[in-house]
């Protein structure tokens, strides 16, 4: 997958590129609006990651431009530190596929990119399973055999996120970013300790069905779904 990273800050572009490279994306970089225009004119990309605060051009203008040329199919994600209220709305109105306010977690970015890919190619995996449990994404349920395990919206999202990134240890920060990332206020409750409460509740709900501890606590770091025999 080809990604164009339009970002004027070198260090930030480097970190982003590094992470995406590890996730098997092929990255191209542009540091100015002009450079970006040229690259968009010549190459075809699957993803354009667009920083709105470019030195020579308003990113929103570039967005409109990108939509016209040969990169009509590209998915555009806005990454902005400006964070004005209008930016998100304007960006999405101009045809951006998603919007992340800086600082964001790279895991969240990649998750959203993967979600876009699944959506575009229609390869949504309807069910994810761990041990005897099956998580159905389309009707948002968790089942143990025929029985449904009642989960709250947040609990479902958390479990889903852990399952999407099985094999990986997810930090509380990455989890809280995913669960509460859309809230405009970082009130005190983005405090990642509240993730523990959610995990505790999920464990409590799973326990009557299966004695195994499916959510593994990685001390000091975070949580991971235990790889079941089916994974």
């Amino acid at each position: 997958m080809n990604v164009l990273i339009i970002e004027d800050d070198k260090a930030l572009a480097r970190e982003l590129g590094l992470y995406l490279h590890n996730e098997r994306f092929h990255c191209d970089f542009a540091r100015t609006g002009r450079e970006a225009s040229e690259k968009l004119f010549v190459n075809e990309y699957d993803f354009v990651l667009l920083d709105l605060g470019l030195p020579d051009q308003d990113g929103l203008q570039l967005l409109a431009e990108a939509r016209k040329e040969r990169n009509q199919q590209a998915s555009i994600i806005i990454l902005s530190a400006r964070g004005t209220v209008d930016d998100r709305i304007k960006g999405l109105d101009l045809g951006a596929d998603d919007y992340l306010a800086k600082p964001y977690s790279l895991l969240e970015l990649v998750s959203r990119m993967q979600a876009i890919v699944r959506r575009k190619h229609g390869v949504t995996q309807d069910t994810l399973s761990f041990g005897p449990f099956v998580l159905n994404v389309s009707d948002r349920t968790l089942r143990h055999g025929e029985q449904e395990v009642p989960l709250t919206k947040k609990e479902f999202d958390l479990l889903h996120y852990l399952l999407l990134h099985r094999h990986k240890v997810l930090t509380r920060l990455q989890l809280s970013e995913h669960i509460w990332g859309s809230m405009i206020s970082d009130s005190d409750d983005r405090d990642s300790n509240f993730i523990d409460v959610h995990v505790k509740n999920i464990r409590k709900k799973l326990a009557p069905y299966d004695p195994g501890d499916w959510i593994e606590t990685v001390r000091g770091v975070g949580y991971r779904i235990k790889t079941g025999p089916d994974a």
Partner: protein
């Protein structure tokens, strides 16, 4: 007191004063005038009688009377002419005029009498012409009432005219106030120049326009500053956070390093949260949010409670909700209001009793259309001296068991101010209450 009322009062008082003085002076003035008038007439008649005597002689006057006097009253006995021969021969005195009593059919009646002496054919004569004071007073009574009516009429009519003129002149004041009131938010569109020929109002209007322009500029600058700050501070934070994330990806990272990275990430997260919240407060105060929504508060509270339900369960807190009527906020920003109630409820959970705490949401509509909503939670009381500072930034009611950044209530306050919600806090041994007075909703179509 309004300027208009003061001006009206002033002009009324000054006119009243003038009318009073005139009315007091009027009898005297009229009397003087009437007497002068009578005198002038008497003198005129005297001249006529003298001319006649010159022409036809005295004898025709005196004939048929007692030899040396002729007294003649007119029909109504208002006036008389008295011609006498003899009397004072020496010296020929000047004409005199005086008010004298005369016997008239057995009664004494006052007459204004002009007495003149003259010599005709070597004989001295005395001529008196009189006019009864009663008839004089009749005239001046008439004059007096006429003058009084005229005065009242003049006062009233000028007063009415002045009221109209004052109203007309002061109309720009209302216009200016209306225009200022219509200003919503810090960046109103430029106003058209005020239509008035009064220099002072144009001066006032110009000054207001300049002031509005200044405010606009300051807000623009602040907006730019906020955008710059967020960019300049959030970008390096971004770099660090992404770097930590990348480092954590590394295979076979020593456990020690891993823990330290996660701790650093947490510190960074705290910095991010603080910065974002400060920026949020600034943006609210900079009026960067719109108020496009009509919000059903009951529904919104339901969402907030659902969002926080897991923490209520976790801390075994009972929530009681008793809202009367349908509390509504309009115009409002739903997202901001969500944050407001989220922060308040989150605090109510956070500062509740460690075991079996209670939270009560109660509300009732008020007679004036407002709605009073109270969020009460059990828990340790907030010291009275801390209450006034509760909503300030970085002020935290610290009892050592709760972590927070001390910005939750500062956000609550700015959102409340943005929505004209009055919020107060009370605390006693039973717990803490936040009382919100939601203003009456305004229909969006208006």
């Amino acid at each position: 007191m309004r300027l208009r009322q003061k001006l009206v009062l002033l002009t009324t008082l000054s006119k009243g004063l003038m009318a009073g003085v005139l009315l007091l002076a009027l009898p005297w003035a009229i009397e003087v005038f009437a007497l002068r008038h009578t005198e002038a007439r008497l003198r005129g008649e005297l001249v006529k009688v003298r001319q006649r005597i010159e022409r036809v002689g005295v004898t025709s006057f005196l004939r048929g009377q007692e030899e040396d006097q002729r007294l003649h009253y007119d029909l109504l006995e208002d006036e008389f002419i008295d011609l006498r021969r003899g009397g004072q021969l020496h010296p020929i005195s000047r004409d005199t005029i005086a008010t004298l009593p005369r016997r008239q059919q057995g009664e004494m009646v006052d007459f204004r009498v002009l007495r003149a002496s003259f010599v005709h054919d070597g004989q001295p004569y005395t001529l008196e012409i009189g006019k009864s004071m009663e008839s004089v007073e009749d005239v001046y009574g008439l004059l007096r009432s006429f003058a009084a009516y005229a005065l009242v009429f003049a006062v009233l009519s000028t007063l009415l005219i002045e009221l109209g003129v004052i109203n007309y002149l002061l109309r720009p004041v209302d216009q200016i106030v209306q225009r200022l009131r219509a200003v919503q938010g810090p960046t109103p569109p430029p106003l058209p120049a005020l239509q008035t020929s009064t220099w002072d109002f144009r001066y006032l209007d110009d000054t207001i326009q300049q002031m509005l322009q200044k405010i606009r500029t300051v807000f623009e600058q602040e907006r730019e500053f906020i955008a710059n700050v967020s960019h300049e501070l959030l970008t390096p934070i971004s770099i660090l956070q992404n770097r930590f994330e990348n480092m954590l990806q590394a295979e076979n990272l020593p456990e020690e390093a891993e823990t330290q990275l996660v701790t650093s990430q947490k510190t960074l997260q705290r910095l991010t949260a603080t910065l974002r919240t400060l920026l949020l407060i600034s943006r609210i105060e900079n009026a960067q949010f719109a108020r496009p929504d009509r919000v059903d508060i009951r529904e919104l509270l339901g969402e907030v409670v659902e969002e926080l339900d897991y923490r209520l369960l976790d801390q075994h807190i009972t929530l009681r909700q008793q809202l009367e009527g349908t509390p509504t906020m309009a115009p409002a920003n739903r997202t901001l209001l969500f944050t407001l109630f989220y922060n308040l409820l989150s605090n109510a959970i956070k500062y509740n009793l460690p075991e079996d705490g209670r939270i009560a949401l109660t509300g009732a509509p008020q007679a004036d259309g407002a709605y009073i909503l109270v969020i009460h939670n059990t828990g340790k009381p907030i010291p009275a001296e801390q209450l006034p500072h509760l909503f300030e930034r970085f002020r935290r009611f610290d009892d050592g068991r709760v972590e927070g950044f001390g910005l939750g209530l500062a956000v609550v306050r700015s959102v409340a101010q943005f929505h004209f919600i009055r919020i107060t806090a009370e605390s006693d041994e039973h717990g803490t209450s936040f009382t919100l007075r939601l203003p009456p909703p305004v229909s969006l179509s208006e």
